[in-house]
């Protein structure tokens, strides 16, 4: 079985300590997280976590089963093989001088549809969104100018089409 990158959409109850439980599970069981992004979902009280982790199918299956043992985890969907919209946001502060400023601006706006959101006499902040590979590519291109600061949001993902991973939590009688 081959090791590849898996994208998991995890719906969890929005309660204190849940992220701690999830991150702690990764540490405890020796799974690596490439990227993690959290925010509200379409359902009040449920947060949506997009996790990217490396592993073969068996390891990922074990990861999913272990995640399900966390009480607050409601639903996990491995969307890796879906037709995905994947987006990440990055802010990149690069060194810019009078001589190269316009080159940088042309490069990032023409090729990457990125925006310049701040400028000083010797720096620029580039805002770029897109799949992680596009952001990687932009970073490679501007590295030679000198990256002073870099912030990435982590990837969020959604499968194309009408089908949704959402759940309406059902009250369970215990």
């Amino acid at each position: 079985m081959s090791v590849r990158s898996h994208t998991l959409v995890v719906l969890v109850e929005d309660k204190p300590g849940v992220m701690n439980r999830i991150v702690s599970l990764f540490r405890q069981r020796g799974f690596n997280i490439d990227s993690i992004a959290v925010g509200h979902s379409e359902t009040p009280g449920l947060s949506r976590i997009t996790l990217v982790a490396q592993g073969d199918d068996r390891k990922i299956e074990q990861l999913v089963k272990q995640l399900y043992k966390i009480l607050e985890v409601i639903k996990i969907t491995d969307v890796t093989d879906e037709n995905l919209v994947q987006r990440e946001l990055a802010l990149v502060k690069v060194t810019a001088t009078d001589r190269n400023r316009s080159d940088i601006m042309r490069l990032v706006t023409d090729v990457y549809q990125a925006r310049i959101v701040d400028a000083t006499p010797d720096s620029l902040i580039i805002e770029v969104t897109g799949p992680p590979e596009k952001i990687d590519s932009l970073i490679t291109m501007v590295r030679s100018y000198g990256i002073k600061e870099l912030a990435r949001s982590g990837v969020i993902a959604m499968a194309r089409g009408t089908r949704a991973v959402a759940v309406v939590p059902q009250p369970v009688v215990a």
């Binding site: 969890v12 109850e13 300590g17 701690n20 439980r21 702690s24 599970l25 405890q28 068996r58 299956e61 074990q62 089963k65 272990q66 399900y68 043992k69 966390i70 009480l71 607050e72 985890v73 409601i74 939590p169 059902q170 009250p171 369970v172 009688v173 215990a174």
Partner: protein, 578 residues
């Protein structure tokens, strides 16, 4: 103290007109969950609960170290099937529970641990005796929580007990800040719990049962590996019917012991690292392994890639994460062991495996139980064999961890579920005495033997005081070989006999027993063994016997860690026989 309880008025949940202290609500919620016994130790941050305690019909056992409170709650739970409860204060009280909680997690034991916490106003301020116990116990509890307001007390305690005992059982910790114990409020009535992320599968999928039945029908050399899940789900009767109808032999994991009668002709006894040779050979030769309520632990499998090399695997477990974790599984069956066996029995007609069974029988070699070794010194195995004979196999037996544990697992043949209490997954030395204490409290009619080593007993012998206070019917058998014997055995076999830090001295156990006002004897010769055991059984209440045994005896058979069946070391070993 118990008499005092009865004299005082009991606070009834129904009669609550006035708001009450959180501490009282904690006690009321515990009583409502059926709690009769708490093993605990008071301290500053849990004081309000202790202030309320005497007003309730709950027997509190004052342990001498919080670790023993958790072990005793565990022993109580294993011996009774009920949820065990332990309680401690914040900081060191809470951290002392940790080993016992980890033990309950590894062995799927339902316990609820209640800890006091510093007031919420100073949480995070490094207050006196503050410790982040929910953070510390995150990976070793099934669930844990901090009660942040007095209104949450009832629902939180209800949820804790439900989680501890349902599905795959485990420990749940409830941390209660002192201000919550001192706030006034009402006990919310028991209500339906909203747990959308927790739905254990009890009844297995019929299609998987049919697939399993088909493999069982086709198998020529099938074998059941039965684990703790049999005992937890109360599936012994179903397993006996299943084994008899299908004529499939049953091997037991360490924690599966007592789940299937050892005296049954289809019982192979314990498998794994120190399992019986014929049982391990049967695994090696099997064409189908049916794992039920067990998790293919490394002490069972050795090197997983070489485990049962010719067998397909059916794995029945209530925890889906256990299935496929270690071994590739042909038929996964998620569900309660008892339900799964019932459904399998509906699918299966009688089968015969006479050739296979007689083949396994031909491999049988009894574990040696000679009274004395070549040097004339008392053999530990003989002590266990005699204990089994004289108690007619009916005692509740707890062990510590090490050689004596393995000899007891091999030789104390258990026929009755819940009579075998041993620290399996965690392998926690010090478990034997406090778990016996818990078992004796939960089953006061029973005869409880704590079989312990001279290493482990010295970790928790402070509990002799508790046993004597409570006059528990606990008989402590110390198998004293002057070594941390199992570690010494590994040093002998794998570290060139470099006995680094394994010789260990002991106090005079007879004098020590007397110091604790406990009847005590020492046995050094084979001829004294029966007398001493009979003496200890001749009265109700605590007794201690020190058995001074052969110092360098080894536990055999043995499959070295990470090894395979072919690597088995046996004292019967004849070159090339296996």
């Amino acid at each position: 103290m118990a008499i005092e309880t009865r004299d005082r008025p009991q606070v009834q949940e129904e009669s609550q007109r006035e708001p009450q202290l959180g501490a009282h609500l904690v006690m009321q919620a515990l009583v409502r969950e059926g709690v009769e016994v708490i093993f605990g130790y008071p301290g500053g941050a849990i004081l309000p609960v202790y202030d309320a305690l005497p007003y309730y019909p709950v027997h509190h056992i004052l342990v001498r170290h919080e670790q023993s409170a958790a072990f005793a709650a565990d022993g109580y739970a294993r011996a009774t099937g009920k949820v065990g409860v332990c309680m401690a204060t914040s900081g060191p009280g809470a951290t002392n529970l940790v080993t016992g909680i980890a033990n309950a997690m590894m062995d799927s034991i339902p316990i609820v641990a209640i800890t006091g916490q510093v007031p919420q106003t100073v949480i995070g301020m490094d207050a006196f005796q503050e410790t982040d116990i929910t953070g510390i116990t995150l990976p070793i509890t099934k669930y844990n929580m901090v009660i942040r307001s007095v209104d949450e007390i009832g629902p939180a305690i209800q949820k804790a007990f439900y989680l501890a005992r349902s599905g795959r059982p485990g420990p749940v910790l409830i941390d209660i800040p002192k201000d919550v114990q001192l706030a006034k409020g009402f006990l919310a009535p028991r209500q339906e719990l909203q747990l959308p992320g927790y739905r254990p599968t009890i009844v297995p999928h019929r299609r998987q049962i049919r697939r399993a039945a088909e493999l069982i029908r086709q198998a020529k050399r099938p074998l059941v590996l039965a684990g703790h899940g049999i005992i937890i789900s109360g599936a012994t009767e179903e397993l006996v019917r299943f084994a008899e109808r299908t004529q499939i032999p049953v091997g037991l994991t360490l924690l599966g012991i007592s789940g299937f009668p050892a005296s049954h002709p289809l019982c192979l006894g314990m498998v794994g690292m120190h399992g019986h040779a014929h049982a391990n050979r049967a695994i090696h030769e099997a064409d189908l392994i049916i794992g039920i309520g067990m998790r293919f632990d490394d002490r069972v499998t050795g090197r997983p890639s070489e485990f049962a090399p010719n067998a397909k695997i059916i794995h029945i477990d209530i925890d889906p994460a256990e299935i496929g974790k270690v071994l590739k599984t042909e038929v996964p069956v998620v569900g309660d062991a008892r339900e799964a066996l019932r459904l399998l029995l509906e699918e299966l007609e009688p089968l015969e495996h006479e050739d296979w069974l007689s083949m396994i029988r031909s491999w049988y070699r009894p574990i040696r139980t000679e009274p004395s070794g070549p040097n004339g010194v008392l053999q530990p195995q003989y002590v266990i064999a005699r204990l089994h004979a004289l108690t007619e196999g009916k005692a509740i037996v707890t062990t510590d961890v090490g050689q004596h544990q393995m000899w007891t697992a091999q030789l104390y043949k258990c026929d009755i579920p819940k009579q075998w209490l041993s620290s399996g997954g965690l392998g926690a030395m010090g478990y034997g005495v406090p778990s016996a204490m818990g078992a004796a409290v939960g089953r006061p009619e029973a005869e409880v033997w704590a079989v312990v080593g001279d290493g482990g007993v010295q970790m928790t012998l402070n509990e002799f005081a508790t046993i004597v206070d409570e006059q528990l019917n606990v008989k402590v058998a110390i198998i004293n070989n002057g070594y941390l014997g199992m570690v010494r055995q590994w040093q002998q076999l794998f570290h060139n006999r470099n006995y680094s830090e394994t010789p260990i001295s002991s106090p005079d156990y007879v004098l020590l027993g007397q110091a604790y006002r406990m009847a005590a004897r020492r046995v050094t010769r084979p001829g004294e063994v029966d007398d001493a055991i009979a003496w200890a059984r001749s009265f109700r209440g605590p007794a201690l016997i020190e058995f001074v045994v052969n110092q360098e005896e080894n536990v055999f058979p043995m499959i070295p860690s990470g090894g395979t069946f072919r690597d088995m070391i046996d004292d019967y070993r004849i070159e090339g026989e296996w």
